[in-house]
Symmetry: none
Subunit: 210 residues, 4 copies
C-alpha cells in the first residue's frame, strides 16, 4: 500500500530568501499550469520556469501534490482577500445594495487570475478528501447566511441555510460563466447586472429601476 504523498510544505520558510524562493516556485507553477496545462506541467518543467533546480523545488515542496495544494491555497487566499476588500461595505448597506456589492466582489475575486482559476478547477486533480476549497466555501456560506439573517425581515426565503446554499452555487456558477467563458455574447457588466436581478427576485427584493 503506497503511502499517500505528503501535502504540507516541507518546511516553513523562516528566512526572507526562502520565502522569496517559495513565491517564485508557486508563481512559476501557476504560469506553467496556465501555459501548458496540467498534463504537461512536470515538476522539472516548473523548476526550470522558476529558475531553480529540481532539487531546490523538492527542498520546499515534498511532492508535486503538495506544490499544487499550496498553489490552490494561495489562489484561494488571494481570491478571498479580493472578495473581502471589494465586498467591504456590504454589511452596512441595504439588502439591495449588499447584493450588488457582493456580486461585484465575487466578480472581482474571479478576476484575480481567471485562467489559473479555470485550470485549477477543470484540470488539476483534487486529492482524495477534497481539502482547502471546502473550508473557504463553508466560510463564505456562513458569511452569506449571517447577512441573510440581518435582512431576514425583508426577504422571502425562510430557511436561510438552504438559501445560502442556493445563493452560493448560483452566484459562483454564473460569475464563473461570465468571467471564464469569455466566449459569451454578453459583456461582464450586463451579466453582472442580470445576476443581481436573479438574486433580488429570489430574495423578493425590489431592485432599483434603472
Amino acid at each position: 500500500m503506497p503511502t499517500p504523498p505528503p501535502l504540507k510544505p516541507r518546511k516553513a520558510p523562516r528566512q526572507a530568501r526562502s520565502k522569496a524562493t517559495v513565491d517564485v516556485i508557486l508563481e512559476a507553477t501557476a504560469r506553467v499550469l496556465v501555459r501548458d496545462g496540467y498534463a504537461l506541467a512536470s515538476t522539472n518543467r516548473i523548476a526550470e520556469a522558476a529558475g531553480v533546480s529540481i532539487g531546490s523545488l523538492y527542498q520546499y515542496f515534498p511532492s508535486k501534490q503538495a506544490l499544487v495544494t499550496a498553489l490552490r491555497r494561495r489562489h484561494a487566499e488571494q481570491m478571498l482577500a479580493m472578495l473581502l476588500e471589494v465586498g467591504r461595505g456590504a454589511a452596512e448597506a441595504s439588502a439591495v445594495d449588499a447584493v450588488k456589492i457582493l456580486v461585484h466582489a465575487v466578480v472581482a475575486a474571479h478576476r484575480v487570475d481567471p485562467q489559473l482559476h479555470r485550470v485549477l478547477g477543470e484540470e488539476v486533480p483534487r486529492p482524495y478528501a477534497t481539502e482547502g476549497r471546502t473550508d473557504i466555501e463553508a466560510d463564505m456560506r456562513a458569511q452569506t447566511q449571517s447577512l441573510l439573517q440581518v435582512h431576514r425581515a425583508h426577504i422571502l426565503p425562510t430557511d436561510l441555510d438552504l438559501a445560502s446554499l442556493v445563493l452560493f452555487h448560483l452566484v459562483e456558477s454564473l460569475v464563473h460563466a461570465a468571467v471564464i467563458d469569455g466566449k459569451s455574447a454578453f459583456t461582464t457588466a450586463i451579466l453582472e447586472q442580470e445576476i443581481c436581478t436573479v438574486v433580488w427576485r429570489y430574495l423578493g427584493l425590489q431592485p432599483p429601476q434603472s
Copy 2:
C-alpha cells in the same frame, strides 16, 4: 509541436462480437474512472477490467484520448435521452409546470451516472477543441430559448438570449450541486423545489402555493 492524439474511434465494429467488445470497453472505462480516478486509469487497467486484451482496446480506440472522448459522448447522449424523455411534456404545459418538469428532467439526467459525471467534469482533461458538450449546450440553450419565446408574454425577462444563458448555468450548477455533491444536508427533493422557486421568481411566475 506534438501531434494531437487521434480522437475518432478507429473502426466501426461490423460484427456483433465487435459491437459487444466496444460496449464492454466503454463500460469498463466508466467503472475504472469512477473507481480509481483518471490519474490511475491506465489503458492496461481498463482493458483488464473489461476482460479484453490491450490490443483489442486499441483496435477500436486509437488513443486513450479517443477512448475517453467516446465515453464522454456516450454519457452525454444518455443524459440527453433521459432529459428528453422526462422533459417530454414541457412544451404543452403551462410556464409554471414547464419549469417544474424541466428541472425534474435535468435532475433525472444527472442521475444517469452521477459519479461518472463528476469524474468526467472534474478530472478528465478535455481535448483542445472542446467539442461535443458545446454542441449539446448550444442545443439545450436554443430549446430553452424557444420555450421562453412561447411564454414571453407572461415572463419578466425580455432579452431571451440572455435569460436562456442564465437559466442554463443556473439550473445546471444547482442540480449538479444537488445530485453530485451529496454532502449537502438537504434532500434532492427539497433542493429541486428550491431550484424551481429560483427560476419561477426570476421569470416572474406565480408558483403554486404548496
Copy 3:
C-alpha cells in the same frame, strides 16, 4: 501525419560526469547494434548494456532516432579523422602516389569499426532528411575534385565533376567490399592494390612496375 521524432541530442552535458555518461551510452549503442542488430537493439537493452538507467538515456537523447543519429555522426567523424590523418601527404605527392595514399586512407577509415559501419549502412534506418553523411560525401567529392584539378594536365578525364563522382563511388564500394565483406578469398592488401590499379587506369596514369 506523425510528428517526426526529435533528432538533436536533448542537452549538452555540463559536468564531466554527464559527458562520460553520453560516451558510455554511445559506446553501448555501437556494441549492441553490432552484437544484436538494429531489430533487437531496444533502448532498454542499450541502457542496460551501458550500465545506466533508461531514464538517463532519454535525458541525453530524446528518441531512439536521435541516439542512432548521434552515433552515426560520431562514427563518421572518427572515419573522417582517420581519413585525414592517413591521407595527410596526398596533396604534396605525385598523382600516382596520391592515389595510393588516398586509397589506403579510405581503407584505414573503413577499419575504424567495420562491423558498426556495416550495421549503420545496412540495417539502421536513416531519417527522412538524410543529413550528415551527405555533407561528408559532398566534402570528400570536393576534395577529390580539387586534387584532380592539380593534376589535370596528366590525367585522361576532362569533366572533373563527373570523374570525382565516379571515383567516390568506385573507391567507396570496393573498399567496402574489401573490408566489410570479409568473405572474399583475397587479402585486403591485394584488393587495395587492385583498387589503385583501377583508379590509375581510369585516370590514365602509369603505375609503378612492382
Copy 4:
C-alpha cells in the same frame, strides 16, 4: 530459445487462383514498402493494400520474414531476367561491345523497380545468414569470369577471379548510384558511358572514339 521464423512460403500454390493471390500479396508488399517504408509496413497494412484478409496473407506466407524473403527473391529474379534478356548478345560480341552491352543490361536490370531495389537494399533487414542475393552474386561473378576467360588474350588483368570481383562491385555500385541517387547532376546515359570507360581502361581495351 525462440524458433527462427520459417522462411519458405507455407505452401506451393497449386491452383491458378492461389497463384494470383500470392502475386497480389507480393505486389502489395512492394507497393507498401516503397510508399511507407519498412518501418510502417505492417502485415495488416500489406493485407489491406492487397485487398485480402490478414488471415489469407498468413495462409500463403507463414511469417513476415517469409513474405519479405519471397519478395526479395521475386525482385532478384525479375532483375536477372532483364539482365539476361538485355545482355543476350554479350557472349558473341567483341570485348569492347560486351562491356557496353553488359553495363547497359545492368542499368536495365536496376530500372525494373528502382524504388523497391532501394528499400530492399537500405531498409529491409536481411536474415541472419545473408541468403538469396549471394547465390545470384556468385552466379553473376561466374558468368563475368567465363566471359573474361574468352577475352583473356586481349585484357590486362590476369587474375580473372580478382578481376570479376572488382568488376562486379564496380559496376553494381556505379549503376546503383546512377539509377537510384537520381539527385546527380548527370543523366543516366552519361554515367553509363563513363562506367564503360572505367571498365574498358581497367581491362586495357581500346574504346571506340565517339
